[in-house]
Structures are given as C-alpha cells and as structure tokens.
C-alpha cells in the first residue's frame, strides 16, 4: 500500500473512530455485573458435551509403534516426512448461510503441507491472458505465511483468482485496443463477456447485480456484480468508459492488481487500484 493510501486509510479510521457507537467504552455498572454473574452461573450449570476420550493403546502396541517410528526415522527422511504430512483438504464445508461472508467450497487448512499446491490447482480453474502469469503468482501471496489457524473455504481462494483473472483480461483488452490489435481485443472481449458464467462466479453469486440492497436503503454490488459494467463497456468497445470505471469510485475497488513486493513498506505489497492502477496500465501500454 502506498504512503498516500496509508495516510488516507488512517484518515478513514480516525473518522470512523469518531462515530463509534460505543466510543466511551462498553457500559458498566453494578446491575450489569449482577446480570452477567447470573448469566455465567446459569451457563456453567449447562451440561458441557462430554470430551472425547482418546483410547489408549495397549502397552505392547505402543512399544511396536515406537519401534516403527524409530525405524522409519532411521530409514530415511521420506518416510518421516510422510508421517508429518498435514493434509490441506478437510472434507468439511461451511454452512450455506455463511456463503455471503466467507464464500462456498470445501474448508481448507492453511497450515496444510500442500496448501500452496492446492491453491495453485484451484487457480487453474480460471485462465489468464498470455503474459499475465505473474498476476496469478502474486495472488498466492496472501496465503503466505499461513497466519491463521482457521480453515479457509476454497471458494474464497477461487473467487480471488477469478477477480484477478478478470482484471487481467480487461487490462489485456485495453492494451490490444490501444495497440490496434482488433482480433486480439475481440478474443479478449469474448472471454470477458463469459466471466459471469465462470464456475466460482455461478457458485458464489448466481445472480450478480450491480446493486443489491444493503442496510437502511443503501445499495452495493453483489459479490461479482462489479464485473457487469466492465463487461458492458468492453462489449460496446468503449475504452474511455473502461478507463472511467477503473479510475471511478463505485466499481473500482475490486479492480486491482497485486504489485511487486516492497520490503521497505510496512505492508509488504503494493495493491494497485483506481487512478494509480490506470497510470500503471498506461505506462505498460506505452
């Protein structure tokens, strides 16, 4: 994140702090203490589900297992590595009501030994234009290091790749139009026009819309609804409208690219969006 966007981020955070509904801290008082104490009293009298008791192996079996482990460790690293393998796939799926928050798909263990390989496999669900492979690689960055112990729905990962691939196709379409390569631009436009039929888009957001109701009469685009204006502008061959959308406000937030690592910045990566992204794309084209 650039210094400028970090500064503006702080401004937003400070402004939000000023409208914190509990700005003076959580309520306190003797009555509240008593009510909470009663609640705690009642809760601790609730039966807890019995903890599963691990069956202890008979001593002979334990001895045999220890021997096998010793032999395996002496026998070579491969056998030991196989023993230490932590699977990424869990075989569990989130409840449907959580889709809007976390995305659909199998829950994956980010600390799994093969998490990055699974992520790469998921990324192949969508294609990138030729020469944009690095965009795909950079999306994988956010899973490194795996600093959460909670499982991640595979849809979250697939959705991030789908958004990134969509932006790459639009970026390539801009380049082809600017270069006057009509046939290549037409090919890109076909891919872009089909983006709403991509597997993860249909699974997560079967009815994408540019405007869905939020709280108090507000609206926002559905999960992939922000793609629609880009698809329409590309379909109409309207480069200026695409530029307006990238630099604009309502549909520019999801149109982004993960930049190169910048070790000197606190946030290790630059995320390009809005006008800065447009300037970057223009530089790449020229």
């Amino acid at each position: 994140m650039s210094n400028q966007s970090q500064r503006s981020g702080h401004r937003i955070d400070h402004a939000l702090q000023a409208c914190d509904p509990v700005a003076d801290g959580a309520p306190a008082g003797v009555g509240l203490d008593a009510a909470l104490a009663l609640l705690v009293d009642t809760i601790v009298n609730e039966p807890r589900p019995a903890a599963r008791r691990r069956r202890r192996l008979p001593s002979r079996a334990r001895l045999a297992l220890a021997l096998v482990a010793t032999v395996a460790s002496l026998g070579g690293g491969a056998a030991l590595a196989a023993k230490l393998f932590v699977p990424t796939r869990t075989g569990h799926y989130p409840a449907k009501w959580t889709f809007t928050a976390v995305g659909p798909g199998e829950l994956l263990n980010p600390r799994g030994t093969n998490f990055r390989a699974v992520m790469r496999a998921l990324s192949r669900e969508v294609s990138y234009p030729t020469g944009y492979g690095v965009w795909r690689e950079r999306v994988s960055w956010w899973a490194d290091p795996p600093d959460t112990w909670l499982p991640i729905p595979s849809g979250e990962i697939r959705g991030e790749f789908a958004a990134s691939a969509f932006c790459a196709w639009v970026a390539d379409w801009r380049r082809q139009v600017t270069d006057g390569s009509q046939s290549a631009a037409a090919r890109d436009a076909v891919v872009i026009s089909g983006a709403l039929r991509w597997k993860i888009v249909r699974a997560w957001d079967p009815h994408p819309r540019t405007s869905v109701p939020g709280d108090n009469g507000s609206t926002h685009p559905s999960q992939f609804g922000w793609m629609i204006p880009y698809i329409q502008a590309v379909g109409a061959g309207d480069l200026r409208q695409v530029n307006r959308l990238i630099a604009g406000e309502r549909f520019s937030g999801d149109f982004l690219m993960y930049g190169q690592p910048v070790p000197s910045l606190k946030s290790p990566r630059v995320i390009l969006t809005g006008r800065r992204f447009l300037r970057y794309l223009d530089r790449e084209t020229s």
Binding site: I12, W142, G253
Partner: protein
Amino acid sequence: MNPSPKSFERLVQETRTDLLAYALRRTANAEDAADVVSETYLIAWRKLDRVPSGSHARLWLFGVAGNVLRRGAERDRRHMALRERLADELRDAIPTPQHIDADSGTATGTLRAGLASLSPRDREVLTLTAWEGLTPKQIAAVTGLPANLVRVRLHRARARLAARLRNAGTSDADRDDAPSARYTTKMSRT
C-alpha cells in the same frame, strides 16, 4: 483452555467489556446485544477446551459473535429471562439512539450512512480495525482469512468508503437523516 467453571468465569471477566462493546456496535438494540453476548458465552462454555488462551480468547469470541450475528433468527433462545435482565441493564447503561443522534454532527451522519452503504464484508474489516482496534493479523484470527487477504479487503473497503464520502458531497453532508449509529452499522444477517 481448561474446561472448568472457574476458567470460564475468568474468561468472562477478561472479555466481557470487549464483547459487550462488540455486540452493542453491531446490533439494533439492547435485546439483540444481550442475545449475542449470552449466546456467544454459551458456545464458549460448550467449547471451552477449544478457546485459545490469553489475548487470543477475545478474538475467538469475536469470531463466534460474528457468526451468531450472521445466523440471526436461528439463535438459541434459551434463558430468555436472563437475557431480558441483561438487556434491561444494557438499556439503562447506554445512551438511547436519540441521545446519540443529538450528539452527532452532520459529518458523522454522512460517515455512518457511508459505512451502512458498504457490503457486510467491507464493513466488518473496517469496524474491526477502527472500533475494536484490531490489526490485520488479529482480524485474520477473527475471520479465518489470511492476514494478507484482510489487508487487501481493508484497502478496498477504505477506498470504497472514501469514494462514498466524496460522492455524498456537501449537499448530503448538510443532512443528518441517518438513523442511530447502532441501527446504521448493524451487520447484515444474511
């Protein structure tokens, strides 16, 4: 965490202020906040051996409370009398929406409306940052997303809110017809 009533009491003592504030910021009224707090602690009691120790316990509880909020109507409605008592105490201890509105300036109203216009995902990372004071790494522990993805979301959410505020312009800034803060910032229960 050791699953004993004593360690549960300690957990409640250490986290009650933060959890109460979390619930009040995201619910429409004291009843709903009391519901969220009591159900979150009920789940914590049942899964006490899975609650991480130290400062991570608070993050774990935020994660559970977030799920309780999203689940909405399906909440466990047991111990109604106790919840009502907790709600009564909360109602007495916090300013009413009218008080909040009266205290609000027009800029605050515009900001609340802007925040309300964001998607629940955007609002979650923004409010966890600004109100709960969490870092991306801590938000990762609450939401179960990698910290770097949280950073990306935060970046997007800030950009969107800034854009909404710019769009609101001065004409809208003069109006403060946004409902109370707790209503406006209520998380979506979809």
